[in-house]
Structure formats: C-alpha cells, structure tokens
Symmetry: C2
Subunit: 382 residues, 2 copies
C-alpha cells in the first residue's frame, strides 16, 4: 500500500425526494444563488422548478445561466462568472450532469479572480485561494463530479480538453435523487455506465497494490455490468437507477484511491482528443479506447486482468476473458461503440487524431504512450 | 436502497512517517494542545515524543493527560476536561487506540460545557453546539473511531456502557502509521480484528438491501480474515499491518452505511454488558457474543448468511459454513475466546449478566431481544 491522504468533505444526500432538503442546506451560504443548467430538458421535467422553489422558499434569490454543452467549453464558464459577478452571487448551484457540475466548479473559483477560468486548466494562473460554495443536483450518473474536486473543460479553439482539481472545488453538498435520472435517454445512460467503469479501471490498473481498493474496484465493475444490463430494459426502476447512480459516485469519490498513487488516466487523455475533435460523448469515446488499451497493454497488466476475470467470471477465467466480456457488454448489452468506425470516424481521420495526441503529449501516468503506441491503439480501435 | 446522507469530513493521513505532517496540520487550530494518552506504552516506544516534538516545532504548547483505561470511563474524560480548561486548550490530540480516541471526543465537547461529559451519553444534556478540534494519532487498529463521529464510554458506578455520536465529534485529522501498531500485543491485535469484523456485521445483517455495501462488507471480512491470520506470524510486516489498519477504518467510517438504516448493534449492546461487568476487552466480548447471535438469528438472516458464505467460501457454501468458519477463525487462528468460560466467566455469573441486560434494555435496532433471547444467547455462549 502506498501512502495516501483520504479527504472528502462533500455532504451527499441520496434518495427519493432528497432535494426537499436543498433550501435548508443552502441558507448557510448567503442569499444569492447562481444556478447553472444545460440545454433545458430539466425545464420541461420540473426539476429546475423544484430547485428554484426550494431556493425561493429559503429566502434565496437566484439567477439562471442556461446552455452548457455536454462537452463543456470554458466560454460558458466565463460567461456564467460574468453573470454571477453582476448578480452578486454568494453560491453556485449546478443542476445537471457532469458537464454542468464541472462548469460550475470552474465558475465557483472564477467568481474570485479577474482572469478566464481556462487559465486554471492551463496552469497559467495560480491555484485558487477562494471559491464560492457549490451545491449540485445530479441528473445523470456518470462522472462522479458530485463528490470530488475535479473538473474537465475544453477549449475548441486550441483543441485542448483538460482536467483540473483543487480541494476548494469539492461541492459543499450534493443531492442525488435516482428518480431524476429516469428520463435520461438509454444511450446517455449507457455512456454513463462506460464512464464509471473507466474511472475504476484508471485507478485499478495503476501498478501499485492496494487490496481493499482492488476488491472494491471489482465490485463496482461487476455491479455496473449487472445494473447496466438491467437498466436497458427497466429505465424507470428505482433500485436499478439508484444502484447505477451510487456506483458512479463511488467510482471517483476517492474511496478507490486509498493506497494507490492517483491512477493512470492515459485512456482519458486519449479520449479527450476524440471528444474535442469530433464532439462525441465522453462515455462513447471511452468505450472505444478502453478495449484497445487493455489489449495493447495486456502483457503489462496480466496479473490485474486475471484477478478481475476471476472475481467477475469465476476461478478459471483469464484476463483475456475479462477484456472480451467487457467489449461484448459495451457492444451487445449497452449498444455503444467499441470502434471508431461505429462513431463515424473513419481511417481518414487518423492523422488528425495522431496530431492532436502529439500536440497534447497524451500519455498515462504509469503506462507511457509514445507515437508508436498512439498508432497501435488507433489500429486496434479502427 | 434506503435514503441516506453520506458525510465524513475527517482528513486522514495514512502511511509510513505520516505523523511528520501533524505539526503543520495542527497550526490551524490554535497554540495550546491537550494531549490524551493511555497507560504509557507510547512513552516507551517514542511515539509520544514524536507527537510532542511535532507540536513544539509548530509553536504549539501542550499538556498531557495520561492514564485512560482500555474500557474507558467518563471520569477520565471529566478530569481531562478540567485539565484542558485550566490549560486553555484550543485543540485536543488523542494518541492511542479507540479508548483514548473515544475519551478525546468526549473531552472535545466537554471543554465547552459546565456539566459532566457523561450527561451527553445519558442524553441528560443537550447535544453539543461546539467542540474543540480533535486530531488523532492511532496506535491500535480496531474501533474505527479515527474516522467517525462516535464515542463509547462507561460508568462503572451504574454499570452502563453507552455510545454517543455527533457530527462535531469527527476528528479534523487523523494520522495512521501502520508501523505504530507493530508493538501491539498479538491478543490485542486479534481483538481489533474481531472488533472490525463485528462492525461490518452490525451493518450488514440489518434487513435492508444495499448491494454495493454488501459487496464491500464481504470484502472487508474476507481480507480481515486473510490478514488477521497473517499478522499472527508476521506482526512487524508493514503491508499486513497496513491492511488491517485500513480495514478497521473502513469498517466504520460510513462507507458501508450507504443505502442502509444505521445497523442493528444488538451484539454491541450485549457485549457492553460483559465488558462493563467483567472488564474484558471489547473485542474479546464480541468474539464470544457474535457466534451465538449468528446461530440464534440464523433463520432470520439466512439469505444474507448464504451470500457471505458464497462470497468467502465458494458457490456451494451455505450460511452455516460461514458461521463455523468465523468461529473457527476466532478460536484457532486468532486464539481469542468464543465462549464465556474461556474468558473465565462461569455460569454462576449468568444471573448478573441477565440483570444488566435487563436494566439497560439491551436489544438490537432491527432484531429485538427480549429476556428469553438474552437467555438463549447466554446458553449458546456459555
């Protein structure tokens, strides 16, 4: 086990009607809320009204910033910062999926600086010394942003998608009502399952040894596969949605990081080039890149692959069985792409992808990628 | 899954030499530390000196309260409160095992009230509105107190051992260096393993369903058995001690409580009567009571027993196999008592025990115990 620090101060409310407690929770953070939302589906299904009435009844004024894209861009964060400053926002409230939450984290820090939030992501700016309290209401289970200090935004102008993390960016409180995810389309539900499984694998395959983390990792993957299959036929079953939602939180809330050294994140880096170039959903990019990565690095990770295979498939299973099972799960059960061609990205785009990977120096923390490896992965995922 | 709130703000430093960061961490909590310790073994092995020099080098004055017993009594907490008030303590530092940490939690709240800390445990006093920041340095893996808001103290005069919990009692920071547990005697190491397994079972057997919690529960029990066996022959192996230490924290830091309703805790209630009456170690009481409880309630918990058996012993195992394996593990591998007679408590004491159980109305939150059940458990553990 590696030395580590475990710290996660987010207060997470989970379950049916938990948003009823949002107003009371928010009163400790002032009286002016900047509310961030996506493309507006939550205006139709009543979730936004619910949140706004919670705020109003608690004596909190609010202003809404609308329009955050599913691959969120820094310009939305900067525009929301301007709106929040003009409004005198004392808190930020994110209502949506990971893209809205990640934008809200940038906004929470951006409210206290004069520069673009993008400067945090490029490390041009110093780390924030202050951030507005952030409350999140999650409507899509995937990124785990509701209970961690990380945020990913992109810059379409420069073709860079980049992550940033700071302890000030932990949400103060997050509200997770599984019923709020009933209306998530099946394809986005599936991308979320692929996303959460990928978070587990980024940490798990890092070479260091941490037995409890590894047991937990296999549990999350096993249950994500079980409930991922189930949700495709039962999208409004409470227990199925609740399990997927809680699995996604646990995949990236730090509980798997204990005794590890932070994870590899090479697959995420590779995927970021795909979503910034082609605007494909992050989860779809991951279900394409991960099978290729597992096959390419199979000799280096065989012990860990065998352990996963045995935990999920029985004592006689081998690592390759795990890879095949996972790929088949993505393709046949979830119906999401496992090849670039299935996302309409042809071989004519390989040069473009390779150039973006090269420019962004995409590699893993433990499994280094050179240009030959980029090419090998591309060949496997064509 | 039941509705729940997940919240744990403790910052936990884990690993070799992590105490080197204590001084810096403590500087944010004022300049006067009340340091609590047990019977003095940490004065011999240099751990106390290490902590005191960390404080001194950070410009923090300290006073030491020594002598907390392994079944901690409220009188020590009250005396430490008096010492801390006279000293003007701005923070409390606990260096020791669960007994020292639990006492320190009482002291942290007690510094801000005029009444005995025992009044919190009897609910005679109102809940605390303030508590001194608490930092812990753990030297014995067992209770999980280093990362939760719970404390258990006893009153020898009235024969009551009672728990209390409040969010103000979460340690601000805890330091867990597995090397600090190398010198824990094998019997107390074993009691700690029995204690951590019991915490998992109190939550696990609660009737509600929470799949991830149940998978995690089986992992902790499985690894506790594996590393519990290993530590008996390798008490100074870093990885073995590290795993046991981290398992004990996770058994009761809230991560298993997600989707559950708080656990049963009937076995703990029963054990409290044993340790308050006979001053036996808490873990020894638990290794006596749990096998009896599992056998007595077997018809009510058969599904959950079967799941544990299959996870730990293979697809054909049944619940009874789990009970037998656990009892054998306590008796043969750990060498700790599984019967009252092995702790020198004869049948002549049964009437005394029954009277204490009756007076304290010992029962579980979900599995009710009447006097006939108390008698049935006593018969099984005689």
């Amino acid at each position: 086990m590696e030395n580590f620090v475990a710290y996660n101060p987010t207060k997470l409310y989970f379950g049916k009607s938990c948003v009823d407690k949002l107003g009371k929770e928010a009163t400790q953070y002032g009286q002016k809320a900047l509310v961030l939302i996506g493309k507006g589906s939550i205006k139709k299904n009543g979730i936004l009204d619910k949140v706004l009435s919670q705020l109003k009844n608690a004596g909190i004024d609010s202003t809404v910033y609308e329009g955050i894209k599913s691959n969120p861009i820094y310009q939305d964060a900067d525009a929301a910062v301007a709106q929040g400053k003009a409004f005198g926002a004392t808190m930020v409230i994110a209502v949506g999926g990971g893209s809205v939450l990640d934008t809200a984290k940038a906004v929470a820090a951006g409210l206290y600086v004069a520069h673009s939030v993008w400067d945090f992501y490029t490390r041009k700016a110093q780390a924030p010394t202050q951030a507005a309290p952030l409350i999140t209401v999650l409507t899509l289970a995937a990124t785990g942003s509701e209970m961690n200090m990380f945020t990913v935004l992109q810059n379409d102008e420069t073709g860079v998608k980049s992550g940033y993390g700071h302890p000030l960016l932990f949400p103060k409180a997050s509200f997770l009502d599984p019923e709020y995810t009933y209306s998530v389309p099946l394809d986005y539900t599936a991308y979320g399952v692929a996303d959460l499984i990928s978070h587990v694998m980024e940490l798990y395959f890092e070479p260091s040894d941490s037995p409890l983390s590894h047991y937990y990792s296999s549990d999350i993957i096993q249950l994500a596969i079980q409930y991922g299959r189930a949700v495709m036929n039962n999208p409004t079953d409470y227990d199925i949605r609740a399990n997927i939602m809680w699995l996604a939180t646990n995949a990236l809330n730090g509980s798997l990081a204990a005794g590890k050294r932070g994870g590899d994140w090479g697959v995420h880096g590779f995927e970021h080039s795909l979503s910034v170039l082609f605007d494909i959903p992050h989860g779809a990019g991951l279900s394409i890149v991960y099978p290729a990565w597992l096959k390419s690095y199979q000799p280096d990770i065989s012990t860990k692959l065998d352990f996963l295979a045995q935990r999920l498939l029985g004592p006689d299973a081998k690592g390759v069985d795990y890879i095949n099972m996972l790929e088949k799960f993505y393709r046949d059960d979830l119906g999401i792409p496992t090849r670039l061609s299935e996302a309409n990205i042809g071989t004519d785009k390989h040069a473009l992808i390779l150039e973006n990977l090269r420019q962004n120096r995409v590699s893993g923390g433990f499994f280094q990628m050179d240009e030959a490896r980029h090419q090998d992965l591309l060949n496997r995922m064509a």
